[in-house]
């Protein structure tokens, strides 16, 4: 592990442990938990967007599949909690494979169309299959997760649970990026043809990273279901897919720490605009457009690059004077 990463993850761990000591209001704790849940989805989605160069507009569906697998299996069939979550994750991965395999074998942006269609179908089914999902009224009474004798039944306990998962997911993503697979993925996003000619099976890697990113979303969805204990189709609509995509872009495509930042900033904006809900769409849209037009590398790297540029300019001016 590089020194930079050790510092980064160490700092993250310390912040996770001590942050709740300073947060007194229950409300802020909830916001932090939502940020954590979004971060998991965004980190996964960023692997797909930033490293495989593919777009998914159906991540709400994978997030929702995680939630509904956990919810339905535990509430309707009395499944044990953790196995239900694992099963949900595997099933979501399998579904993602079925969607991803045929569309990623094609050159071009076919995945965006497939995931778009899939996302909308899943959302309609959530409302339609009432006998399983509770329809538009939602599914209630999902039990909180337990570990040993400890039940994660309040916001503080869930904070530690969710953010442990954030930590693990980010660590997993970092290890993936720095592995052979990660190098292959970066080669693909650099130039698919070049990667292919060097013997990288581009389609295969893209499918794998898509499945992985769907699994991340599923984990987050399961955590959400057990945390809120109530799920309904409106949380998993097309709009959520766009929200997470926005977070990835604002944070920076292909930037791991940017994912955390993107999820944090945009979740806070959503919450700040809670009273004026109608400004949600505009705020997200404007943010997305501004970043894409002016800082296509995301706010973290974008501002850093601007800073570097300004610095070199200053040096040049200084050199001129001398």
């Amino acid at each position: 592990m590089k020194q930079k990463d050790i510092i980064g993850f160490g700092a993250l761990a310390v912040i996770i442990i001590i942050l709740p000591l300073f947060v007194e209001s229950k409300y802020y704790l909830i916001v932090l938990n939502v940020i954590g849940l979004n971060t998991i989805v965004v980190v996964g989605l960023n692997l797909l967007i930033g490293f495989a160069g593919q777009i998914s507009l159906g991540h709400a569906a994978f997030y929702g599949l995680g939630s509904y697998f956990s919810g339905i299996l535990t509430v309707n069939y009395g499944f044990p909690l953790w196995p239900a979550m694992l099963l949900g994750m595997l099933a979501t991965g399998a579904v993602a494979y079925l969607i991803g395999y045929p569309s990623l074998k094609l050159r071009g942006h076919y995945l965006v169309m497939a995931t778009l269609g899939f996302g909308i179908i899943v959302n309609i089914l959530m409302g339609g299959l009432e006998q399983f999902t509770g329809g538009h009224d939602g599914l209630m009474g999902i039990p909180p997760l337990t570990m040993g004798g400890l039940a994660f039944d309040n916001d503080l306990k869930n904070f530690y649970l969710i953010w442990s998962f954030v930590f693990l997911c980010m660590l997993a993503a970092r290890n993936l990026i720095n592995s052979r697979v990660g190098r292959a993925l970066r080669a693909i996003s650099g130039s698919e043809v070049a990667a292919n000619s060097l013997g990288v099976n581009t389609a295969d890697y893209k499918v794998k990273v898509f499945v992985l990113s769907a699994m991340f979303a599923s984990i987050s969805g399961s955590l959400y279901a057990h945390y809120i204990t109530f799920i309904s189709p409106s949380s998993y609509d097309f709009y959520y897919s766009i929200q997470v995509v926005t977070m990835v872009i604002v944070g920076g495509m292909g930037s791991l720490w940017g994912s955390l930042l993107g999820a944090g900033v945009l979740t806070c904006i959503s919450e700040a605009l809670h009273i004026a809900k109608q400004y949600h769409i505009i705020a997200y849209g404007v943010f997305l457009c501004l970043v894409l037009v002016f800082l296509p590398e995301g706010i973290l790297m974008g501002i850093y690059n601007l800073f570097l540029k300004a610095k070199t300019k200053k040096h040049i001016i200084k050199a001129d004077r001398h």
């Binding site: 942006h109 269609g117 909308i120 097309f238 769409i281 037009v293 800082l295």
Partner: protein, 325 residues
């Protein structure tokens, strides 16, 4: 008959309701049944015509730039809402309103291209697709601010009295308007792309941007026109469907995404395919909603989309551009 028709219309164009056709079936005689099928076909062709126009809009921009323009959805909503404002709120003449709304949305399309799309610091396809998503949100949010979230009606172009057809079916004049205007739009597009110099230049740009630029075609201007055209097409779709299905700040999302599905079904980028895809999708949806279940009406188009992508990604009329890797 009018009321029954109105109810069918309502069921087909608004949110899915649980009252199934199957339940009423016992009460219907054979004559009623065939009439009903005819009605579903008329409705299916109408909505199919709308999908075809929208698919055309997607295709024009795709051919000019290679991107999927998600702002197309908002062009439809804006067309409908402009029409509503002019006709209902400002009492402007129908023809003039139609013209102003179409040109207005075409201008918005052009502005999108001149502004953000042209000035984006990265020209990667993936960035531009995301940008159209962002722009679509800005437009939708603004529309919500201006008009609120209510569904509003626009008066039909020539009254609501149904016309009796041979064989006992009826048709509301607005459906005829939709067909007529769609055919007119298609003929105009055909003429433009096949006969005029500018249309040929746009087709050349679609085939090869670099080669087009080399022979003196302003590729930037062609891109600009493609956005304006898609804006106009979206607006026309939104305007002519508004009297049938009512309109609101976000009607365009579903219509637009289904139009997108129609474009894929026909073969992305193929104009004849757009018409075929639109009509097939419209009929499937209308008959599916009427005879099977209206609850999953919206899912049908996207199910077809997935099937096409998996079985024949080039679509019905595709040239086989999408290589397997």
């Amino acid at each position: 008959m009018i009321t029954k028709f109105a109810r069918l219309e309502f069921e087909l164009f608004t949110k899915p309701s649980k009252s199934d056709f199957l339940r009423d079936r016992q009460r219907l005689t054979f004559m009623d049944f065939s009439q009903q099928i005819a009605q579903y076909i008329v409705t299916g062709l109408t909505i199919g015509a709308i999908y075809a126009i929208v698919a055309m809009g997607f295709n024009i921009i795709h051919n000019a730039t290679g991107i999927v323009n998600f702002a197309q959805c908002e062009f439809i909503s804006l067309g409908g809402m402009f029409m509503y404002s002019l006709v209902v709120l400002f009492k402007v003449n129908l023809m003039i309103s139609f013209f102003i709304s179409t040109v207005g949305v075409a201008l918005i399309g052009a502005l999108i291209e001149i502004g953000p799309i042209r000035h984006a610091r990265s020209k990667e396809i993936i960035i531009l697709i995301f940008l159209t998503i962002g722009l679509s949100e800005v437009l939708r949010g603004t529309a919500q601010e201006v008009w609120g979230t209510d569904n509003v009606g626009v008066p039909a172009f020539s009254g609501e009295n149904p016309i009796h057809l041979l064989g006992g079916g009826t048709i509301v004049p607005q459906h005829i308007w939709v067909f007529a205007i769609t055919v007119l739009v298609m003929l105009m597009l055909h003429y433009f792309f096949k006969k005029t110099l500018m249309g040929k230049a746009m087709r050349a740009t679609a085939v090869n941007r670099k080669a087009a630029a080399l022979v003196g075609i302003s590729v930037n201007r062609m891109t600009l026109f493609s956005f304006a055209f898609s804006g106009a097409l979206g607006a026309v779709a939104g305007i002519i469907i508004a009297p049938i299905s009512t309109t609101s700040y976000d009607t365009g999302i579903m219509l637009g995404l289904k139009g997108f599905a129609a474009a894929i079904l026909g073969g992305y980028g193929n104009f004849a395919g757009a018409i075929l895809g639109g009509v097939i999708l419209g009929l499937l949806e209308s008959l599916g909603a009427g005879l099977v279940s209206s609850q999953y009406k919206d899912a049908i188009a996207f199910f077809v989309l997935l099937l096409v992508l998996f079985l024949k990604p080039t679509g019905i009329m595709g040239y086989g551009e999408s290589e397997r890797v």
